[in-house]
């Protein structure tokens, strides 16, 4: 019973946050200056007579007051009709469908690599604290965190595509080879490298610092006195101690890594959602923008809820209701 109630509560919180998010995005998108007709009619929009403009706005439902527009959007959306993209003139979902897979592949692989490697590097650093390996990893990591993503992409293209001609510099696949996994992989190498290097050190350093704090706790002394080996203490006790806070941080960053790929997607001309979101925000493609924002915002909220749930499994101290406010 209480589990059902718990799930319902979480679901309600999720729905309310989504609703607020949609209102916020809807209003800032419409209040910002810009001409959505340009994205629908292209250059023709500038040559329209006032009567034609009025007709076009009427047709797209743009001249009702904002609350009415929002109510219409919401009722349509709840019935599964998310509107059309002004630029591509097809259903929004169709536009997204073609690109969702690409972004999920790039972002998902990137996320898994960042997650695994950051834990590995963090544990390595904590194991060899203040020794040569730790110091060098820290040094290289600091440098890597200072390199802007777009510049790294340029340098990689310059090196591997232009000079060495080893890897393709743009696209998700060679035309005609869409189904060939090897070809896809070759196109993924450079963007993936940029994404992983761009984020890795931030998380690895966090794991390292949290582990170093954990290693100084008293229970480590007890475990050592009990005769446990270094590896057992580090992996079975310390790592477990830091995982909750690590999960909650990396969960919030899932959409950041997944959706924040727009720089990489633009530089490598990779057909994904990031580039699409950038386009739709710039050219007032309202319906597309709404769906993309809600998709990414919803992912943020969902991931933090999942992190909360996972944390409560790992660390019973956090379980709701057991800890009262401290102040």
């Amino acid at each position: 019973m209480s589990t059902v109630l718990y799930c319902l509560k979480k679901l309600a919180a999720f729905a309310v946050s989504l609703l607020v998010l949609s209102v916020v995005v809807f209003s800032i998108a419409r209040l910002a200056p810009g001409d959505p007709l340009v994205s629908y009619y292209g250059d023709r929009a500038e040559k329209m007579s006032p009567a034609e403009r009025a007709w076009a706005e009427e047709r797209l439902g743009l001249h009702d007051p904002l609350p009415v527009q929002y109510a219409r959007w919401l009722s349509n959306a709840l019935r599964g009709d998310l509107g059309i993209s002004y630029k591509y003139k097809t259903d929004v979902l169709e536009v997204i469908q073609g690109r969702l897979g690409n972004t999920l592949l790039l972002g998902g692989l990137g996320f898994l690599l960042i997650f695994g490697l950051s834990l590995l590097l963090g544990v390595l650093c904590a194991w060899f604290e203040d020794r040569l390996l730790d110091r060098w990893i820290c040094r290289i990591g600091t440098v890597s965190s200072c390199v802007p993503e777009f510049w790294l992409s340029l340098v990689l293209i310059l090196l591997f595509s232009v000079t060495l001609r080893l890897l393709p510099s743009s696209g998700a696949y060679t035309i005609g080879h869409a189904g060939d996994p090897a070809d896809r992989l070759r196109h993924l190498v450079l963007p993936l490298t940029v994404i992983v290097l761009g984020h890795l050190w931030y998380y690895a350093y966090m794991v390292r610092n949290k582990l170093l704090e954990e290693v100084r706790a008293d229970y480590v002394l007890l475990a050592k006195a009990k005769g446990l080996g270094k590896g057992a203490i580090l992996f079975r006790h310390c790592l477990r101690g830091i995982l909750p806070s690590y999960f909650s941080i990396i969960a919030i960053s899932v959409p950041h890594i997944l959706g924040g790929t727009y720089i990489v997607e633009t530089v490598f001309s990779y057909p994904g959602l990031g580039a699409l979101a950038y386009e739709s925000a710039r050219y007032q493609d309202y319906d597309l923008l709404m769906v993309l924002s809600i998709l990414s915002g919803g992912a943020v909220i969902l991931c933090s809820l999942i992190a909360q749930a996972v944390n409560e499994r790992i660390d019973p101290r956090i379980r709701a209701g057991e800890v009262g406010p401290l102040v």
Partner: protein, 292 residues
């Protein structure tokens, strides 16, 4: 007779003192380099050999040589001159953006901490929603509202979109000291919000946000260059480290490595120096010996 035993206990050799804290290296090199870059950018009018905006179309994409120290870009501008005068714009934007975001964060964070619980919860929900709105969307929209981009509007855009993490830290810190006697005393004597903030709260939370502020400076430089590179920041005619690199698509085709590498290396060296200096402000909590 039992005395001797006690003395024996007394002369037992003392346990070795805790390992001395590792000596912290002073970031001399990075301070010197950063100072040189700052000074060079400020005083660039005195020594740059050419007008950075002048397009010498006869000398497009020349590799580094005696006449053009770092070569010229695809529009024939001298990269050596552009780096120094562009750095001035980039660093100005970074400092202004950091000041804006720090000010918003400090005020918002302490307001939230001092407010009644319902307002506090509301403000925190607000920041969470702001975080889940894609920052790209916010940036593009703000740009549209502020009109033709220039250095100040870019700084405002970057500042307004990057304050949330510092605000959270400020809130946590202020919550810990908000019911201290000195704050209550000041309130009883009629101290206003800004008086308490400035005289009593700020000195207490400044050390813990100083590192984040320095890191903010760093990310503001990156943000400016990325925005300008993507074409939603400064226009091509205003030279900055970002807008210099926005021509690099053409440079890639011409295989002109100097157009990409040299400004980028300048950028990275600056960022590294700032990071190194910023690490000095980091609280080093774990000077205890490891138990492992």
């Amino acid at each position: 007779m039992s005395d001797s035993r006690f003395t024996q206990v007394g002369i037992r050799p003392l346990p070795p003192p805790l390992a001395p804290a590792p000596r912290r290296r002073r970031p001399c090199l990075s301070a010197f380099l950063l100072g040189a870059i700052l000074l060079g950018c400020l005083l660039c009018d005195l020594f740059i050999p050419k007008d950075p905006a002048y397009m010498d179309l006869a000398n497009c994409s020349r590799p580094p040589s005696a006449a053009f120290l770092f070569g010229t870009d695809t529009m024939g501008r001298d990269i050596f001159s552009m780096i120094w005068s562009g750095g001035r714009v980039s660093l100005f934007i970074a400092f202004l953006a950091t000041a804006i975001s720090t000010a918003i964060a400090v005020i918002f964070g302490s307001l939230s901490a001092l407010a009644p619980p319902w307002l506090d919860a509301l403000l925190m929900r607000l920041t969470e929603i702001l975080l889940s709105v894609p920052s790209l969307l916010l940036i593009v929209l703000l740009q549209a509202v502020l009109g033709q981009p220039n250095a100040v509007t870019i700084a405002i855009v970057i500042g307004v979109t990057s304050w949330t993490s510092i605000a959270k830290v400020v809130r946590t810190e202020v919550r810990q000291i908000r019911s201290s006697e000195f704050v209550i005393a000041s309130r009883c004597m009629g101290g206003g919000f800004f008086h308490i903030l400035w005289r009593h709260l700020a000195p207490n939370f400044l050390p813990s946000i100083l590192f984040m502020v320095v890191m903010d400076l760093r990310s503001a430089i990156v943000a400016e260059s990325t925005l300008s590179f993507m074409g939603i920041g400064l226009p091509l005619s205003v030279i900055s480290w970002g807008s210099m690199l926005s021509l690099s698509e053409k440079a890639l085709l011409a295989n002109a490595w100097w157009i990409i590498l040299i400004p980028g290396l300048f950028l990275i060296v600056t960022l590294l120096c700032i990071t190194d200096l910023g690490n000095r402000f980091r609280k080093n909590a774990n000077r205890k010996e490891s138990n492992l």
